[in-house]
Symmetry: C2
Subunit: 234 residues, 2 copies
DNA sequence: CGGCTTCTTGAAGATATTCAAACCCAGTGG
DNA sequence: CCACTGGGTTTGAATATCTTCAAGAAGCCG
């Protein structure tokens, strides 16, 4: 029984150790003995676009590491208005706040087919207690999230709509110069504008040949032009 | 000589232990032996309104705990536009990022006469290494800053100008129902509007009797009315 | 009292919202 | 197969909100 448990633990740990993106994730700095402290299963879960990972206010029992895909963190105002406060890309961590015994602060929704690792909060709490190697990574994660939050504010909530959109696109371009966009409603919730105005603004960038629609919601970007729109030089 | 140093250290530590707002600050959870690990002076420094604590990009050697007053954290866009991303009140910590070996991310400016404790980053780094009691507080601080950043975005960058201003005022009211406001330029940089529009919006709330000017830049607030303006119910 | 900055106000123009209607497209069911 | 439906998107036109530029008022300091 005990032996079986240990084997199960080991199997899970081995999975983490062999993780293809381990240098990107929360457990990047862990050493072999640390993994033995993981005594709860870390599940790999897939979500389709639109599915909810967790909801604001839920009593969180786990945090998530993003293996692939894209997640939006949504925050609601008392009056029901909503705002997307951050986007999480591969390697990012969602739900860090549960390690402090807090409920989730946002609603996390997949924007694309997304694959995550679900890490029970006890795992992080135990590792945090027993190995110092996790501390650094946790701090880095908090720091990274805060930096992104501040940048999000200055870049996506400052200036005219075309500037904001251009800056967002620059954040989203893949190495191959393409971008996969999402619904105009989400776009509006990120830029702090209405759905209709988001639609018009996309159309405007198209007319200026800053972006070109390859297929529905996939665009080829002219980065130079986007940068100059983003900085209001043109 | 060595003895003298130890006494100096002790004197500084004693100051921290006797700190009047210790339950609010970063060192809240430290115990008596922890303070002996502090081997660099923690200075108490006063700033007048308008003075700069540190500038974005500076190679930070210290972080700050706010004893009294008010500090703005300013972030600049490449094109020179600026945005105030957060306000720090008593008990808050500024410059946490230096504990990760990073330069300061914002420019920190006192908005009122302000008193801070300057903590050399080595002190935090050493305490962080040698006593687990600081970890929790550090995480809490990161978390708190992130929460504030997210709220700032959803509350102060969403909706019409009067709503945003009303929400900001609610954040700023003292227990006695009064608010000390700052320059219209700063107000604009917080709400994402122009200086002129900030001025007009303040005038509008005055006309609606949601605020009443007691003396230059000091106002009495009608909280109920502000709340209903902030939520667009009226 | 200048001279300076900051705040306020006005008016014209730019930008964004609102509401409504048309459109597109994928799915459904006759 | 095609009409019908329902969701998201686009577009139009009227209106609201914000910015810009400019000028006047108020406050502050030497």
């Amino acid at each position: 029984m005990k032996r079986g448990q240990i084997e199960a633990v080991w199997r899970e740990s081995a999975q983490c150790q062999d993780c293809g993106i381990r240098d990107l994730v929360l457990f990047a700095d862990l050493k072999e003995p640390d993994f033995r402290l993981i005594h709860l299963p870390i599940d790999e879960i897939d979500f389709e676009a639109g599915q909810v990972l967790y909801s604001a206010g839920d009593d969180g029992q786990a945090l998530f590491t993003l293996r692939s895909g894209l997640i939006k963190l949504v925050q609601y105002l008392p009056d029901g208005a909503q705002r997307i406060v951050r986007l999480l890309k591969r390697g990012a961590t969602a739900g860090l706040e549960v390690t402090l015994g807090q409920p989730y602060e946002h609603t996390a929704v997949a924007l694309q087919p997304t694959s995550v690792c679900r890490i029970p909060r006890q795992v992080v709490e135990r590792l945090s207690r027993e190995t110092p190697r996790l501390h650094g990574q946790l701090m880095q994660r908090w720091h990274e999230a805060l930096r992104q939050a501040d940048d999000w504010l200055t870049e996506l909530s400052t200036g005219k709509a075309p500037q904001r959109l251009a800056r967002l696109l620059i954040h989203l371009v893949e190495p191959d110069g393409t971008v996969t966009l999402f619904s105009r409603e989400d776009l509006g919730a990120m830029l702090g504008i209405t759905t209709e105005h988001a639609s018009r603004t996309v159309a405007e960038l198209k007319r200026q040949d800053a972006i070109f629609e390859l297929s529905p919601n996939r665009y080829r970007c002219d980065i130079d032009q986007l940068e100059c729109i983003g900085s209001a030089d043109c």
